[in-house]
């Protein structure tokens, strides 16, 4: 059960992150960037597909990647609250995504050493992709921060809004503790300092200030979400639920 839930947390974080990012498809700031972000979203979806497939296999009660993606309710999704937050303007999307990308980069780099060979394999495939994602989004952070007064202000507003969701990336509980002891999971707190240091100095380089005295949100990893997830699921799942056994 712990194993299954741990894999679902990884899978859901990617699935919801990807679903949110694809809302930009066709609406990006300009054609090339529209394609770039859609491409990133597609990489993340590909990783989640493998993870959901694996979760279904571990659960071994006849679920599939599709039933997991399309026939679970809000309380059964275990993604962090950060990835379900609205895209806002492009600065907000980038501020959110750079935090996710750098976390994923450190996380999946470590996960390559997992004793769970399937996870280690998925991690190895993902690290190269994520390295590129982080390069892309961290570049954009600098452009926004060092661009114009308005672009800096938009990025700052986004950071003020989203920083409180960053703490949950490092939230661990007995599920994760069990998986760490088995050598399956990565102890994310081992690279918390590195993450904080790098992200903080990136924001500082971009002339952005971290909000102070932030109360960190959590709960997403146990199915307690902000109001935004329900809307994402409604859109993502409506077709599959209206035509349950349909193929296309």
């Amino acid at each position: 059960m712990n194993h299954y839930k741990y894999i679902l947390r990884l899978a859901d974080n990617g699935l919801i992150n990807s679903q949110r990012l694809t809302e930009w498809t066709g609406h990006g700031p300009f054609l090339e960037e529209d394609l770039a972000l859609t491409n990133i979203a597609l990489d993340i979806l590909g990783r989640s597909k493998l993870l959901l497939e694996y979760a279904a296999k571990i659960d071994n009660t006849g679920k599939t990647e599709d039933t997991l993606a399309y026939h679970r309710g809000e309380r059964d999704f275990f993604n962090t609250k950060l990835v379900e937050q609205p895209n806002g303007d492009y600065a907000q999307t980038i501020i959110k995504q750079v935090m996710v990308d750098y976390f994923d980069l450190l996380h999946y780099t470590e996960l390559q050493k997992s004793k769970d060979e399937t996870l280690a394999g998925i991690a190895a495939k993902s690290v190269k992709e994520i390295t590129y994602h982080y390069r892309h989004t961290s570049n954009w952070v600098l452009r926004f921060g060092l661009g114009t007064e308005e672009s800096n202000q938009r990025a700052q507003t986004a950071l003020d809004e989203l920083w409180r969701f960053s703490g949950e990336l490092f939230y661990t509980d007995e599920t994760e503790q069990w998986a760490i002891e088995q050598g399956i999971a990565v102890n994310v707190n081992l690279f918390k300092d590195k993450w904080t240091k790098t992200i903080t100095s990136l924001f500082a380089e971009a002339n952005l200030k971290l909000p102070e005295n932030t109360f960190m949100q959590s709960g997403g990893k146990n199915g307690l979400h902000t109001e935004h997830l329900g809307y994402i699921l409604a859109e993502m799942q409506s077709l599959a639920r209206a035509f349950p056994m349909q193929k296309w």
Binding site: F30, E32, A36
Partner: protein, 95 residues
């Protein structure tokens, strides 16, 4: 989509190490790094290459169609410029 999409860049892709960089198209970007990343996303998603060049389109100096006669046609009747009497060794692959 905004009206201002940045300047135009030309993209060159090298299929394999040692081969020439071949022009494959262009794109919009606001700076060098963005141009390189956009080139990667637009032109190498399907294993088209192993290396990329991007250059601002305005930095390319091009001959104009009117120049064709004076530039290129004088070569038409000078086939002696082809070094056809040399033996090319088999190991030379890309002449």
């Amino acid at each position: 989509m905004s009206d201002s999409q940045g300047p135009l860049w030309e993209v060159f892709v090298q299929k394999k190490s040692g081969q020439p960089f071949v022009h494959c198209g262009n794109l919009h970007a606001f700076d060098k790094e963005m141009a390189l990343q956009n080139a990667r996303d637009l032109y190498t998603r399907r294993m088209e290459g192993m290396a990329l060049w991007v250059v601002l389109s305005e930095h390319i100096v091009a001959s104009s169609p009117e120049d064709q006669g004076s530039f290129f046609e004088p070569a038409n009747d000078k086939i002696f410029r082809h070094p056809t009497f040399y033996q090319v060794p088999d190991i030379i692959k890309h002449m």
